[in-house]
């Protein structure tokens, strides 16, 4: 793997010397597509590139924004049950950040907030709900949401995990766990210097269910009635078959 990467980086700088060196940061990703099949156990994606200018590199992988429900359990009449149900709008279902330095040292808080760089800067938009007392209470649950996503390995923050060869070539591995959802993910590379954004590049990576799994999942969601009929027919057919074999005994 390592030699392959080195080789590809060299190849990159040989064939595209002007292009590579004219931009402050240039990177690529391998593989560009992740297939979820029946024995998918998660995958590590390699991001590698060239940095041609001084500054700190931050690599963020963002999954699609989806609506999520955060629930809190409490004791009601001796039984533990969900007492708070908070709907959160447009919350990344995957977020991984890797950087060459602590984010505080980039020293431009509002810029990082705007770009949603750093777990704390991810937008958290609670939707009004009956059992939440106030907006502040709802916002107070943001840390719980971040913690849960981290424990599911869907959110992660890695400092100093971007490796360098010499001054300019860098690489890092980003882990996509077994429980990722399908969708288009974006790998965003930022180069910060002196509290300013020097350069930016975005690479898409597609996560898709393939083969039989995709077929089943899509059928269930898009042709629900037909899928249900097939489920019933399979069960009836199997039952009849077994009945013919063993029924008369």
């Amino acid at each position: 793997m390592k030699t392959l990467v080195t080789f590809m980086l060299l190849l990159c700088s040989v064939f595209f010397p002007d292009y590579a060196f004219s931009r402050p940061i240039l990177a690529d990703v391998m593989p560009r597509k992740i297939d979820i099949d029946h024995n998918f156990k998660g995958v590590k994606v390699l991001v590698y590139g060239v940095q041609n200018d001084v500054g700190n590199v931050v690599i963020i992988v963002r999954g699609p924004k989806v609506n999520q429900i955060l629930r809190e359990k409490g004791k009601v009449a001796g039984v533990w049950t969900n007492v708070t149900n908070l709907k959160v709008k447009d919350f990344y279902n995957y977020y991984s950040i890797s950087s060459t330095t602590e984010l505080e040292r980039i020293n431009n808080k509002s810029l990082l907030e705007n770009l949603e760089v750093g777990l704390d800067n991810i937008n958290f938009q609670p939707v009004k709900s009956r059992n939440i007392l106030s907006f502040n209470d709802a916002m107070g649950l943001k840390n719980e949401a971040l913690r849960l996503m981290q424990s599911k390995k869907l959110y992660s923050e890695n400092t100093n995990e971007i490796l360098y060869w010499g001054e300019t070539l860098f690489k890092t591995f980003i882990e996509f766990p077994k429980n990722i959802s399908k969708g288009v993910y974006n790998i965003d590379l930022y180069l910060f210097n002196d509290g300013q954004l020097q350069s930016f590049q975005s690479l898409p990576i597609i996560v898709d269910k393939v083969g039989f799994e995709e077929f089943v999942y899509n059928s269930a969601h898009e042709n629900s009635l037909l899928y249900g009929l097939v489920c019933v027919l399979i069960a009836v057919a199997l039952g009849l078959l077994v009945g013919l074999f063993f029924g008369r005994r």
Binding site: I69, T81, A220, G228, C231, A235, G239, G243
Partner: protein, 318 residues
């Protein structure tokens, strides 16, 4: 070897799933019960989302019910007319059940509802079964044949005797003749029994036979040889309807999981038939009651003890 379940969206060891289906099958072969009431909670313990466990369990029951029904059909032990009345009630009941299921899912209380209902059912059935079989094992109780005694217990829990005493004082309208069973009863009774069972199929993912059978014997006074075949006739249709309703409203039927459970169940049922013939009935009933109580206890722990994680987050589709 793990297999990725496309609807449950988790990988689970395939042999473990065969084993779960097999256990259900063994119980079916040995005791003539569906086993759905154990399969659903065990799937939940394995990490299958409760809604997927319930819906898929309903799908799996279709197969074992068809097989069971065929055996009774060959022997002409089915009252189709009465079965139709149970079915009409069941369709209404399963529709009501699906409505309740969707509502509970929407307000985030479906897991609680499933656990709570299971703890109540398994707890009361398990305790009474354990007491009765334990007593007869110790020789303090007159031995009765297993088949006749089983409905007795359920009839007790369900308060069927009380209901029967109450019904004696009233005369219900809409009398219908059921020739095959030799009955002349109010249509409201089979409709009501079917309705109640239908609700349970949608919410619990069980066939509901253990509700219908005692009710048909004690409330309708149906000839007992017709009871199982007739209830299976209704269960085939109701579980089929519930499966389709679940695929449409919640998309939570996992066909891969159902297939594994069905195959495991077929093998288990054949093993169960052989084991049941060899082993003493009372001892096996005691073992079954212990299994039921363990599952019940495991569910109760989740309800009554503080969970290690108070928060959960999940994606919603709208």
């Amino acid at each position: 070897m793990t297999i990725y379940l496309p609807i449950a969206e988790i990988p689970i060891n395939i042999f473990l799933l065969f084993f779960v289906g097999g256990v259900g099958g063994i119980l079916a072969g040995m005791f003539g019960i569906g086993g759905g009431f154990l399969i659903t909670p065990i799937l939940i313990f394995l990490g299958v989302p409760p809604s997927v466990a319930v819906a898929t369990s309903a799908n799996q029951i279709i197969a074992s019910s068809v097989t069971g029904f065929m055996g009774h059909w060959y022997k002409k032990n089915v009252d189709i007319k009465l079965g139709m009345y149970l079915l009409v009630g069941g369709v209404a009941g399963s529709y009501i059940g699906i409505m309740i299921f969707s509502l509970l899912k929407k307000i985030g209380q479906i897991d609680l509802a499933i656990s709570l209902i299971y703890v109540l059912f398994l707890g009361s059935i398990g305790v009474i079964m354990a007491l009765e079989s334990g007593r007869s094992l110790l020789g303090k109780h007159k031995k009765v044949s297993g088949e006749k005694e089983a409905p007795n217990i359920f009839a007790k829990i369900l308060g069927i005797y009380k209901l029967k005493a109450y019904l004696k004082t009233k005369t219900l309208p809409f009398h219908v003749k059921f020739e095959a069973s030799g009955l002349d009863i109010s249509a409201i009774l089979p409709l009501g029994i079917g309705l109640f069972a239908g609700v349970l199929v949608s919410i619990m993912g069980i066939g509901g036979g253990f509700i219908m059978i005692p009710a048909m014997i004690y409330l309708l006074k149906m000839p007992s040889k017709l009871v199982v075949g007739t209830s299976l006739f209704q269960i085939i249709f109701i579980t089929s309807i519930v499966t389709i309703m679940h695929t449409i409203s919640t998309q939570s039927v996992d066909v891969v999981l159902a297939l594994i459970l069905i195959v495991g169940g077929v093998i288990g049922a054949q093993m169960g038939l052989k084991m049941g013939a060899k082993l003493p009935a009372e001892k096996m009933r005691f073992v079954l009651s212990v299994i039921i109580l363990i599952v019940c206890l495991r569910l109760a722990v989740g309800l009554f003890f503080e969970p290690s994680e108070l928060f959960t987050i999940e994606q919603v589709f709208e």
